[in-house]
Amino acid sequence: MPIELLPFVAPVTLLVSAAAGFLSHGPRPRLLARLSEASALIAIAVAVISAVVLVLGGRHLTRLFGLHGVGVSIELDTVSVVMLLLISFIGWVVVRYAATYLDGEARQGAFTGWLCMTLASVLLLVLSGNLVQLVLAWVATSLFLHRLLLFYPDRSAARRAAAKKFVTARVGDVALIAAVTLLALAYGSIDIAAILSAARSGRGGFLAVGAGGFLAMAALLKSAQFPSHGWLTEVMETPTPVSALLHAGVINAGGFLLIRFADVMLLAPGVLAVLVMIGGFTALFAGLVMLTQPAVKTSLAWSTVAQMGFMILECGLALFPLALLHIVAHSLYKAHSFLASGGAVDLIAANRRPGPVAIPRAGAVGRAFILALAIYVVVGLGFGIQHKSPQAVVLGAILIFGVAYLIAQGLGDDAPRALAQRTVVYAIATSVGYFTLQMFAAWLTAGVLPAVPAPGPLQWALMVLAVISFGLVAVLQALFPLWASHPAAAGLRVHLSNGFYVNALLDRLLHGWRLRNAT
């Protein structure tokens, strides 16, 4: 077998496990647990070997296997290999977890089957060398995931959530199909590498701009961006590993799409500006909603919406390497958070033990912001921040705001000096980690992903808007206890905690609260 075909081994072995899953019946299917984990491990091995092949042989595209120009092909480059490594790793963790977690479930076989099918289709998606494969894998992922979301089909809440997801996903499918149709028309090819190199040389015209618009739409729907965020926050009606896979694997498809077609997206600066606005708004909105959620998994789901918003914002600013980094970092974090969410009881009890949280006053918050800015400048200069794009520098403001929140907790009136010292150390470690990872991401994707173009007036305006709004939220959050008890804040909290009723409206539209036996 030629080495270039190797990546196909990953989805194929998973499909074999899936078949074994569907064929087994009843609880405790013998050997299935081992078989599925083995196939996930094979997928990791394939991903690692593919990475080695990429390093040694460079970026390449396999020829198409299929008929009449339609079939499967692989685009092997940094983007697909990073995603391959990520998905196969998360896949292994989730499959291994599920094998134990679902032990004793009557339909463990079917669950494992759909889980492996979903994983295989995500892998085919990120490996896609052509548009047809991309669309098919995209749709298949969504349909297989739908089966997992309805693993307990009798739960009305599960059906309510899945219905919303289903509708959103189908609209997204239409958008993607429209996008690839325009791409094929614009470039006369379904080969992704060919399209990208043509786009990089500036060709494509208005058809490419339209394609960019539809790609953005598909990505926004897939990434649960406002106002289509609702479906993601309600899909905890299925066993925890599905949530982990969804929030760490499947949800990334939107961001992947934008990164994959970065060259096309750059042809549509207006679309990118829209991405900045929607992504930025979603990041702030969902981040605030997250703060109000008392249920651990729901809070994590809102966190995903926010993180995807931030990733979309990065795409909108043409910081595609950072967006890729964000996808990887967030997936690892979120997969762990979901799988370990049973520890919430212990965690909250532990948080109560050392006494009340020291509340920083306005002065302390101010000092924290200055300190955070100083750390940013000093560490940033060490990493050569002066050579970075304005977009990347501006995005660093987010780091300042975040780090300031951390430091402010150590500067509260009741906070001992030792706590302040520790939070400053954490802040420095965070800043170093931030710049190191950014350098790494930039180095890794150099030449594969387009460089950041110089910002125009619109971009500058959006960046200033982003910094102001993120900064405002950060300051308000740090001063939280000083205003949260105001009646107006209490009212706002009610609307926020309901996610501005988007789900309620969608439920009304889809008759989500209809009695089952009455329909």
């Binding site: 004793g104 249920a295 690892l332 033990r353 050392p354 309620a504």
Partner: protein
Amino acid sequence: MKLHAAAERAARAVPPVWPLASSVAVNPFLGQAHEGLASVGARLERVAGAPVTMPRGWYQERIAGGVITDADLSAALASATDARRPTNLSALKSAALASRSNIGAAPTIADLAAKASGIDWSGLIADRFGAWAAGYFDEGQALWAAPRGGGPYDAWRAVATHDLTPEIVGLSGFAAFVSEIPARAPDALETVVHRLAIPADALETYFHRLLMTLGGWAQYARYRLWEAELRCGADTTITEFLTIRLIWEAALFDRYQDQIDAPWRAVVASHVSPVTPTADHVVDTILQDASERAAQRSLADTLAAPAPVATAGRPALQAAFCIDVRSEVYRRALETVNPDIQTLGFAGFFGLPVSHRRFASDVREPRSPVLLNPGLTTRSGGQEDAAEDQSARFRARAKRAWGRFKLAAVSSFAFVEAMGPIYAGRLVCDALGLQAPPAPNDPTPRFDPDLDLVTRTMAAETVLRAMSLTAHFARLVLLIGHGANVSNNPHASSLHCGACGGYSGEVNARLLAALLNDPEVRAGLVAHGIEIPADTLFFPGLHDTTTDAVTLYSEDHPSSAHAHDLTAARAWLAAAGKIARGERALRLPRGAGEGRLIKRSRDWAEVRPEWALAGCKAFIAAPRPRTAGKALAGRAFLHDYDWKSDQDFAVLELILTAPVVVASWISLQYYGSTVAPEVFGAGNKLLHNVIGGLGVVEGNGGLMRAGLPWQSIHDGERYVHEPLRLSVCIEAPREAVTGVLERHEGVRALFDNHWLHLFALDEAGRMAWRYAGDLRWTAMSAASDPATPVRMAV
């Protein structure tokens, strides 16, 4: 005021549920202890649609399989007094074959409105109520906490007048409706009841019905009342919940009155009629009784087996464990390792109800049975640990600040971009279970403030007498609490020691060991007739019930003289652990193979790390030789009790009113979660979503679920717990037992209404007398051993 009295009665009909951080088993039928099973069956069917027995098929299977014999059925039938009972055995058996009719719960207005409109109003109320309550009672999940000013009703009202969801779903004007209801909860209650025109006689079960629609939330409110009353306070959360639920009813009635007026009048009429069991309820009760008689028969056989000859002389080691059924397996194993080892059973808080402050903690943890208000205050570590305490707090606070950084808006983006990739390592570590959670090991706990000598001596004497341990001390006496070291399990505390308030038991064991090693206390005890030899050393430990490893807190009492004894004890404990694991592995799915049990205890995906108290069916208070070596299979609570050294039967009274009641809560919690998992069970662990650090919901939200998760009573293929009401066997004169029951009406109700069965053992440890209710006893036929005449226990 009839209305408020009815609300009060309905509140007390609901069992409490403790928050998950320190959860204990609760008898779900706590509010119905004064009634029998058949009548409770009728009541819970009306208010919750909940069965109180297994489906008929379950009994039928056991009758067909010979587990339940005709004799069991006849005996159960004979003891039934209800006029609607089947006339004879064959009528009973054919009734067992028929499926029972289930009338279901009386509909609420929400149910009627749902039927009329096709909109799932009950589901929406559960969703909205759950969303509000989870936010209001949140212990620290949300960084932007819900406002807590005023009581629950005020807070709900503030939310309900803003929340647009009901209007969007179709209840237009709900917020305005709420704002027109009086602002004081008691007035609001009167207003809505008046609007609905419910006659006073219908109120009690209607209110009970409404509280049951709030699931675990009503139970949590009942817990707040329980806690307040334990401290002689009051709490109105539960009646405020009832008021909230009634407002929903009134709003829906307003909206759908034309369509649901007639059915609603019928519902009201049904609430007016007294709760009476149907013939089906009576048959169910008889079948349940028969299955318990079958279990009692096998228990009697087990206990009638010849006892091993007790070895004379000083024991090589004494080890006291909690009465918890999991100790039984380990104790038997330990005695097998060396027959000269003597084990004892006693409530795992070792008689010291303490309010404890952990090392570097401000939080007071009640490490005592929840029936008691802990009278003693203790803390881990003293002056010499102050510096370490301080820096541990700083570490914890820095960790908490980091956690908030991770979860806050805006900063969470910085966190992910800077630190996200390190989770790759954590994923590998957790997926492979590389890290074992350490056994609890705070600095030595101490009384704070310290107790004076008289109090200490008195406490020591009381505990030793209650343990029936007043003479024949070994050189080394281990006091071993228990806990479960599991990971990623929201219900971890339910695997800990119930007698220690849902915490692990090492603190109480360490406190008692220190008390009993105190030379001043020992000197004082001599005056009370308890002479502890100078070479006797009490030593605390912790039994990890998931792995059967025992940690000894050796630095508490350094003694070079006992180094040898300790080494030997450690070897015996390790050997016993291996035997106990071998026995337990047979019951656990995927448990076979040395090391499997230890591995699964740290597996973050494991939903059945151990079976906890599943299977419990008996409580035996007798000297250990009566039960030693008998195959009780980890299904019996074992309490050491020697009535001959019990002056005035004070210890007997203590056992019947405290450990027996705690054991009944445990047994009935398993019972309730098995027969009515929808109402008294916590649901599917695979869907659990922890809310506010205090409870779980299934999936996205809705009602909090109390009780045991399905995975704790069922292994996927069969029930692991057999729903049996506990058989309490006591070796003591019947008159003495009767005397205690006479004095304690609440305890007597448990036995008279068969929430517990009571037996008196004879001196050979055989079940000789059955308590028949009304302070009467009947002799048991010694069918298992016809050659021996029944000996009186007195």
